[in-house]
């Protein structure tokens, strides 16, 4: 599980970091690193790239701490920086951005269902989703962000978040159907 947050609020730690206080900055890192790293790991899919982007993210947080305007929560701001850097990385790797681009779905991959391993099944199905669909599900279910918070992070209206979650679930259901997974196996 994630570590318990330290008693000092991230807003205060960021304010102190902006004045050059490295101790406060390290506390902020310790508070946020697990969540941000998990987010990056899910987006990028490997430890090494996620660590590289985590380094870039917190270096950027340090450099631009003084520019934080307070219009959103500090955590949302940091997630936003991480997201931009992760998408730059994904663009470099030419990730596909549409489920229809995944030719392996057409063949109807059939996993071994004998163990009824929910996590493995869903991991496989999730990997078939477009990054934007996987991401919105992660933000809602894993990071337990509200729809307004997700909207702020993704810079889209709340209605768009709802629609995206709806389509993400629909795409996940399609992926499971193509994998010939019965909904009761979940």
């Amino acid at each position: 599980m994630y570590e318990a947050p330290s008693p000092t609020a991230p807003e205060e730690l960021l304010r102190r970091a902006a004045t050059g206080d490295q101790t406060a900055f390290e506390s902020l890192y310790q508070q946020m690193q697990s969540r941000v790293f998990h987010y990056l790991h899910r987006l990028l899919g490997d430890q090494s790239s996620a660590e590289d982007v985590l380094v870039e993210t917190f270096t950027a947080v340090w450099k631009s701490a003084g520019q934080f305007g307070g219009r959103s929560a500090v955590s949302t701001w940091i997630f936003g920086i991480a997201r931009n850097l992760a998408y730059n990385e994904m663009r470099k790797r030419r990730y596909h951005d549409d489920i229809d681009d995944h030719p392996d779905l057409a063949g109807g991959e059939i996993p071994d269902l004998t163990s009824k391993d929910r996590r493995r099944i869903l991991d496989t199905a999730m990997a078939k989703l477009a990054p934007k669909h996987r991401e919105v599900l992660d933000l809602a279910f894993l990071h337990e962000m509200t729809y307004p918070e997700i909207g702020e992070l993704l810079d889209v209206p709340v209605g768009t978040v709802k629609t995206r979650v709806f389509h993400a679930k629909k795409a996940l259901r399609s992926a499971l159907t193509l994998m010939k997974v019965d909904r009761h196996d979940l």
Binding site: Y2, G20, T23, H38, L142, H184, L186
Partner: protein, 211 residues
């Protein structure tokens, strides 16, 4: 899809968590009885919540090296100029030493002292050097515990010497073509502390006991 269907659908997460009022639960269960599509969505929602609960139990963790890498980045001149340096309330001895080193008067003073020392050492009939140098090759040092050490590329000579001095180390070998130094530590009990200091230092890429 009607707005009523949407409203009912929005209740699914709270239904699974048992957070609905009795009225809400009754109306959702009525809708579930009549709508196989909604039942399918409920199953998917349950599956997703269970899946993400599993993920939360065992999150991936970044290696401790990540913080060291961030430390090295924010110590770089480009990052440092974006901050107005203020005295730190707490800091390691090394950080305090670094702060002192950044003071122009002290830096120039030290440069002057080093030049003077060099002149004395190079002059004819100069006394034997006092104090110890960072490099050595005495038999005693060769038998002392040693550490293999590689610095990061951007490490300056001053930082390198400062760090080796801070652990009471002596360079007994290197750098090799790959930048590997062999460092002897004068006192055997201090080796663990020295190794720890090196491994956590942002300028150190690699440090381990020499086999």
């Amino acid at each position: 899809m009607t707005s009523k269907q949407n409203q009912i659908r929005d209740l699914l997460p709270a239904y699974i968590k048992g957070e609905l009022s009795a009225d809400q639960r009754r109306s959702l269960e009525e809708a579930l009885d009549q709508d196989p599509e909604l039942r399918s969505e409920l199953e998917l929602e349950r599956g997703l919540q269970g899946y993400y609960q599993e993920l939360k139990k065992d999150p991936p963790k970044p290696s401790p090296r990540v913080w060291e890498r961030i430390g090295a980045e924010i110590e770089s001149p480009a990052a440092a100029t974006s901050h107005k340096r203020q005295p730190q309330p707490e800091g390691t001895l090394l950080e305090k030493f670094k702060e002192l080193w950044r003071m122009p008067a002290l830096s120039w003073g030290l440069v002057g002292a080093q030049c003077l020392l060099l002149l004395i050492l190079l002059s004819p009939g100069s006394p034997k050097p006092i104090g110890k140098t960072l490099s050595g090759s005495s038999p005693a040092l060769n038998e002392a515990a040693q550490i293999n050490l590689v610095f990061k590329e951007q490490t300056s000579e001053i930082e390198l010497r400062e760090l080796i001095r801070s652990i009471n180390g002596t360079i007994v070998g290197g750098p090799t073509a790959t930048g590997l130094y062999s460092i002897a530590i004068d006192s055997a009990p201090a080796i663990d502390q020295a190794l720890k200091t090196l491994q956590h230092h942002p300028r150190v890429m690699f440090a381990e006991l020499k086999p």
